[in-house]
Symmetry: C4
Subunit: 217 residues, 4 copies
């Protein structure tokens, strides 16, 4: 452990704080829900020994305290002794990092639109968006582009939930919806993960409105 | 009275100011509505002699003045001489503190979603939310969790209203809706009461939208 | 004119700036629309010689400049020489001040809800709200309280519009809607006018939502 | 090139920064979408040699960096050597400047309402707004005023898209919608372009709501 780069940890914590602050102001962590993680870079952190910095459980994310973040390994265990506990959902984060090798950041938030979409399209297990300029935010550059995000049921058992998520994850789609349990989204940087998240949330809000409008025709 | 802990009072006022500021920025006190209270801790404040700090009546809660808070006892009377008057609704606060022994904070706000829900489900006298991850914010940790919040009619007489509320309060549900008169919510700390409130408001907004979507199918 | 109280003018300008800033952050002045006025107090400003401070025409209200406010008399003419021009709608303000003797502040804003309500209920020429706790913000304290706000057609001629407004104004209802032209609201202080405005906007937004919900039943 | 006025460039960059900041806080650049440009004034910048300052591609517009803006000529090429690349959509901006001689600023943003409107009225290729006070923001001052904004299909090829836009642009209507690709809006100053944009967005949001309300009657 002594080889961990302290600067890398500090940089990861700083990035989490910036993202946490931005999302908190948007109301994206209602009732202390949601969590954010980022892969800590630097030697000797190769793929097998990856460490992630993650928000600690049950905090009010609109304020900053010295206890906001913890370090966990790929088993979801604390890297350093601490009286803080990792969020139960840490396992979902580590599972995503392990499945997507170039994943550097994972964000989980609850919004009204992402919860509504997850319920409305739960039976199909997925929802598809077509012909939106904003799809370019997923680095999909072609005519008549579309993107399909999977939706999984919300299991009470987190290991079971992590397993179900791992079954539906596809490398080209950087997100998954859990029924009435928000979205997990990721990217090859915190910047990219944020761009993916904003694009998904835009599509969800649009779709909810269009669903109303088309039905009421 | 000389035994009251001045530090405890100051801490209660500071907490109220932080909460007031946060809620005010969300637009949760339209037209000077709403009020916040917190139990003042420290000797000799046992259950029978409890004192609460509460927002004074009719103020613009988006600004701070030296007259924003007052101290009242469990009868709703001023503890110290003041030219400020307690809100008429102080009796609802004290009634809740008396009924829920571990209650430390009571928040009352008006939002569009909580008023709409209170009207849409008024005939049933309650509304139930099921299978939402956010229900964990109420410290309910089980499969297929649900929570039912009672709704009471809005009586012009505050003592009558306080009495009706006391009839429907249940220890495991930290809130009550009044028809077109917002929500009262509480917790064993201001942090918990805020978490409960955000969870309720999330569920209300979700439900209003789902009500539209399901009806327009 | 030399008798005008400079302090009173400065106080009026300061109040307008605070209100302008608050409303601007809410998005209540889209596309430079809206205007605010306040009666300048102090000798020799009795009812017959009243002067009002009012926002000047066509400014971006999200920024502050030395040209944001002007002084006009009850004929809507500039009190002091200026290269600024009063808003055409100044006449509506002065008309309201003349009709309501204790009126101290008049606010005019456009919001999506107030424009929608003004259109939906235009044929009736008014809209009534009943059984809302928030009605107490109009200082109406009784069981089964209600308030009815008049709606007038939007005439291109401002003198004609001012005349139509003066026909429907009632002392006990501090506001009037113009069809697809926002609301005028007033009070016996800027504080009261703001409380009235927030209460009306709350009722409008509630009503729009309830209109959807009831229709889609 | 040495004749370019450095002060004029700095002024253009400062203006873009202010507008970028304002729009970013409104959420008008979701997922790094959107771009802003302004004509750089001063000799020798006559109509044939115009240079525009424009936001560089793919940046998070909620933060400020030294790489936020670039200078391009009317062919959409960089004026000064840079490792930054112009947005692909620069061609749409330059096309608008060339077609509207007094155009000084062009803003492109994505919002839920402008995307919904662009889809709902795509078949008609336009949408008309009538009898709204806010239409005065387009400097249209007459009884029963109306404004019609054209809607074009969203072509993947930007030159093709720029061409289609140029076909529908009308001097008296300072905007065009692209199907599920937001709005382009302009004016004879950044102030005017912003006023036009706010007016359009107000009309779009109003219309979406009225569409619901009328259909659900």
């Amino acid at each position: 452990m002594e080889k961990i780069n302290l600067e890398a940890i500090q940089k990861a914590f700083n990035t989490l704080q910036t993202v946490k602050d931005t999302f908190s102001k948007k109301g994206w962590f209602p009732a202390t829900s949601g969590n954010l993680s980022i892969r800590v870079k630097g030697p000797p952190l190769d793929k097998n020994q990856s460490i992630i910095a993650i928000t600690s459980s049950g905090k009010d994310k609109s304020i900053h305290t010295p206890e906001d973040y913890i370090l966990v390994n790929m088993d979801g265990n604390l890297v350093l002794p601490s009286n803080l506990k990792p969020s139960a959902e840490t396992l979902i984060h580590t599972s995503i990092y392990q499945q997507i090798p170039n994943c550097q950041a994972v964000f989980h938030i609850h919004t009204i639109p992402n919860n509504l979409i997850s319920e409305l399209y739960a039976d199909q297990g997925k929802v598809t968006f077509t012909n939106h300029e904003i799809i370019k935010a997923f680095d999909i550059w072609k005519e008549d582009a579309s993107i399909t995000i999977p939706i999984v049921e919300n299991y009470f058992s987190i290991p079971k939930l992590a397993e179900e998520i791992s079954k539906v994850i596809q490398p080209e789609v950087p997100g998954v919806l859990i029924r009435n349990h928000g979205i997990y989204v990721w990217g090859d940087s915190d910047f990219t993960a944020k761009r993916h998240l904003e694009a998904f949330e835009f599509l969800f809000e649009y779709q909810i409105n269009m669903y109303f409008l088309k039905k009421s025709k």
